[in-house]
């Protein structure tokens, strides 16, 4: 569990930001009204509330949960959203999935599996700076795609700090390398990022469809990133090679040499991934079909495994729930989904989708660079889940125009995950990494230092995603076979409530 960094702001500075925030919120509300996206007072309230919450994550990061609470209260109090709509919009299925995965990761730590991974790399013979960097990149991407970006970055940075502390080399370049690859790897599976499970579940992709679609793009992006970082940080890598050689001459290793039992942890992880991978087949066997059961077994698998683990280790069960689950983050997600649900309930997202379909020439693929671009830039400054939550109902509505718009789910995924690399506040993994780096007393990464490499990697991987989405035949959600134009209603679609007269 990581601590929330507290940023102290002078009252005048805070007042300035508050004024700016109010200005942006009012402008967006007026624009939505002016362009016909929010024709009624209540829909303007929904737009303003959503924009205010987004602005809070940008300007008052530490207050985001508090403002999301108030945002939900405003929506309910102003009748812009019903209580039933609120409960439906909180996406409890996603939240339960994430809770289950967090408990599993906690148990994996407990069982020594994650320690074993670090220990295996530290014990590796004939290590050089280059091999360490390549291993670091691969490990970051692989771990984040399996256990999630936040847990992955904690594990990978423990390895980075151990090696850098032992060798007395600057840890910052390797922290950056690890974070860049973590964000890229997090796009590869549904397990990698809250954005992944959200998109996968809301779009209706199965785990294997998601893997087939996302993995190739993530792999190419990772390969390009490895080449870039090997060149970008060649001096730091060469220095590490030199220090490793010096250490080797003194017959010193990179850390204590211990044999860690890993079979139980490996078994738990393998079983979890396998069941998740075959969830669709299991759903069919159990008769969990239809829109109301989309990905039902995918969602409950982490709960089953977590439940069994807590029975297996009853003395640690409470610890897993209280310390391994990021309640603060999950609560923010729920409230954010609810606030975004306000837009959907007021029909704002449907209007936006209609307008987009109307003005776009060149078909759905013409919107791909737009979605990747806006999500990347947005995710660079605001939590990426915010943009995904906002785009979800828009894409769901667009899917009613044509199933070809399903390519936008992928654009959204890659934009959100790859865009998180651009700035230091681009993703939760970045913020956790920065906090760990500062806590260990190593250094602070300046905004510009991050931006330079982040922008290069963000732009390159964004272009790769765009290119591959144009070339590859991306999987379509269940119920939308290739060439299908007759569109069934998307899962969880809601009917706008009747709007009061203007």
């Amino acid at each position: 569990m990581y601590s929330e960094p507290v940023v102290k702001t002078s009252p005048l500075h805070a007042l300035g930001k508050l004024g700016f925030m109010a200005g942006i919120t009012a402008l967006m509300g007026w624009s939505a009204y002016h362009f016909g996206l929010a024709p009624h007072a209540l829909s303007v309230v929904a737009v303003c509330t959503f924009v205010a919450v987004i602005c809070t994550t940008l300007f008052f990061w530490t207050h985001r949960v508090a403002v999301a609470f108030l945002g939900v209260a405003v929506l309910i109090g102003s009748r812009a959203m019903t209580l039933q709509g609120l409960l439906r919009a909180t996406e409890l299925d996603i939240i339960l999935f994430l809770i289950g995965m967090m408990v599993i990761v906690g148990a994996l730590k407990d069982l020594g599996f994650l320690t074993w991974i670090i220990q295996t790399i530290i014990n590796k013979k004939r290590m050089t700076g280059t091999t360490f960097t390549v291993i670091l990149c691969a490990l970051s991407a692989l771990l984040s795609s399996v256990i999630g970006e936040i847990s992955s970055i904690v594990v990978v940075l423990a390895l980075v700090f151990q090696v850098c502390d032992t060798l007395k080399v600057r840890a910052t370049p390797f922290v950056l390398i690890a974070v860049l690859c973590t964000n890229i790897g997090s796009a590869a599976t549904m397990l990698g990022n809250p954005v992944g499970i959200f998109i996968g579940n809301k779009a209706g992709f199965t785990f294997s469809q998601f893997l087939i679609g996302a993995m190739p793009v993530a792999l190419v992006a990772l390969a390009v990133t490895i080449i870039v970082v090997l060149l970008w940080y060649r001096k730091s890598i060469a220095e590490m090679s030199l220090k490793i050689e010096e250490h080797r001459k003194l017959r010193q290793g990179l850390g204590p040499l211990i044999r860690i039992p890993h079979r139980r942890g490996f078994f738990v992880l393998t079983v979890t991934v396998l069941i998740i991978a075959f969830h669709h087949q299991i759903e069919n066997i159990l008769g969990l079909t239809g829109a109301e059961n989309t990905n039902a077994f995918l969602i409950i698998t982490p709960l089953i495994i977590a439940g069994l683990l807590m029975i297996y280790r009853p003395q640690r069960a409470r610890y897993y729930i209280e310390h391994e689950v990021e309640w603060w983050t999950l609560l923010f997600f729920m409230l954010l989904f609810a606030v975004a649900g306000g837009l959907q309930e007021q029909g704002v997202t449907r209007s936006l989708a209609d307008k987009l379909a109307e003005i776009t020439t060149g078909g759905p693929h013409a919107l791909v660079p737009f979605v990747i671009g806006i999500t990347s830039v947005g995710s660079a400054f605001v939590d990426n889940i915010v943009f995904v939550a906002a785009f979800k109902p828009v894409i769901q509505s667009l899917m009613e125009h044509s199933a070809d718009y399903s390519v936008l789910w992928w654009a959204l995924l890659f934009g959100a995950c790859f865009g998180g690399n651009i700035t230091v506040v681009g993703s939760t993994a970045n913020i956790v990494a920065l906090g760990l780096l500062e806590k260990r007393g190593h250094a602070h990464i300046a905004f510009l230092e991050w931006l330079k490499i982040g922008l290069v990697i963000g732009a390159l991987t964004g272009v790769i995603a765009w290119g591959m989405l144009n070339v590859l035949e991306m999987p379509r959600p269940v119920g939308y076979p290739p060439g299908a134009q007759a569109v069934p209603p998307p899962p969880h679609a809601t009917t706008p409530v009747p709007l009061p007269a203007k």
């Binding site: 730590k109 407990d110 069982l111 020594g112 994650l114 320690t115 670090i118 220990q119 594990v155 423990a158 390895l159 700090f161 151990q162 032992t166 007395k168 003194l250 017959r251 010193q252 290793g253 850390g255 204590p256 040499l257 211990i258 044999r259 860690i260 039992p261 640690r316 007393g441």
Partner: protein
């Protein structure tokens, strides 16, 4: 390191706390307890202090807990008292000398100091004002040869003993400390921790400048990295397996592997309160007193608490 603006100057003289009437000259033999009671009675007569017995008990209790012989035949018995409005100082000399403690030479000059409890720094300020006499080996003996209180008073006036505006770090530091060199190896560090029964040692570079500290806790962290502690089951390391690497390499590993460059330190002339601030800021139990970069002394938390709350 704390940089604070110096407090306003007061230029209070030590002699402003007593007059010739508060000085007793003893040519005859007298005991420690007798001289303290005589001085108290004298102050009571001169200034109307009523609680002689209570004050006497407080002073003797303080003296028994830890003697107040400061150096070179001078003792400063004192007590912090609740119902005192201002400080009182009484002076006594003894030509024959008084045995305050068994293991120290006889005392010839006694300053009895009664301090209001809410002025914790005053005793230390008085000590600092007496710094010149404390350094002079013969001062106490020569004062004890004076025949009249006026002569003694003139001695103090001549000395120009002005109370400092505040107690500084150097006033409360201990200049006896153990230090390591930055080219020492881990074996030396571990030996030092064990032999001296301490858990923190300052490290000096070849110029004598302080370059950091080593802590026993940091040594443990090298042996037990954070990721090993993720496991709730410690059976893989139950036989101290992680320590074997250090054991094997302790002679070829420099102490720089566990050197911490972030530590609590103040300059000698910094107000003593900045010692507390630094220790709190760094969550440390020791503060190092520097002159520039040179290590001059150490103040540990018990010493600081004793100086402020008890002495």
């Amino acid at each position: 390191m704390l940089k604070s603006a110096p407090p306003p100057k007061t230029n209070l003289s030590l002699t402003s706390f007593f007059s010739a009437d508060d000085i007793l000259i003893h040519q005859e033999e007298v005991s420690r307890n007798q001289v303290i009671r005589l001085l108290l009675a004298h102050l009571a007569n001169g200034h109307g202090i009523m609680e002689v017995d209570a004050y006497y008990n407080a002073i003797i209790e303080r003296e028994n807990a830890s003697d107040t012989v400061v150096s070179n035949g001078i003792a400063i018995p004192h007590a912090r008292l609740d119902d005192l409005q201002r400080p009182y100082v009484g002076v006594a000399t003894s030509a024959q000398g008084i045995q305050f403690t068994e293991d120290q030479p006889p005392v010839h000059l006694i300053l009895l100091v009664l301090i209001p409890r809410d002025q914790p720094g005053l005793y230390l300020q008085i000590l600092r004002a007496l710094a010149n006499i404390l350094r002079d080996r013969d001062a106490a003996k020569s004062v004890s040869q004076m025949k009249t209180p006026d002569e003694v008073m003139r001695f103090f006036e001549r000395g120009g003993m002005v109370l400092p505006d505040y107690v500084c770090a150097a006033d409360i530091m201990s200049d006896e400390f153990i230090a390591l060199r930055d080219n020492d190896n881990l074996k030396t560090v571990i030996d030092c921790f064990i032999a001296k029964q301490i858990t923190e040692i300052p490290v000096l570079d070849r110029d004598g400048d302080m370059s950091g500290i080593v802590r026993a806790g940091a040594l443990l962290k090298v042996c037990l990295p954070e990721y090993l502690l993720w496991m709730s089951d410690l059976s893989p390391i139950v036989n101290f397996e992680p320590f074997t690497t250090i054991l094997r390499n302790e002679q070829s590993t420099w102490l720089s592997d566990i050197l911490l460059e972030d530590f609590a330190a103040v300059q000698m002339k910094a107000p003593a309160v900045s010692v507390a601030a630094e220790m709190t800021r760094h969550n440390a139990s020791r503060c190092y007193v520097l002159n520039g970069k040179k290590l001059m002394g150490v103040i540990n938390l018990p010493r600081f608490l004793n100086k402020v709350f008890r002495e």
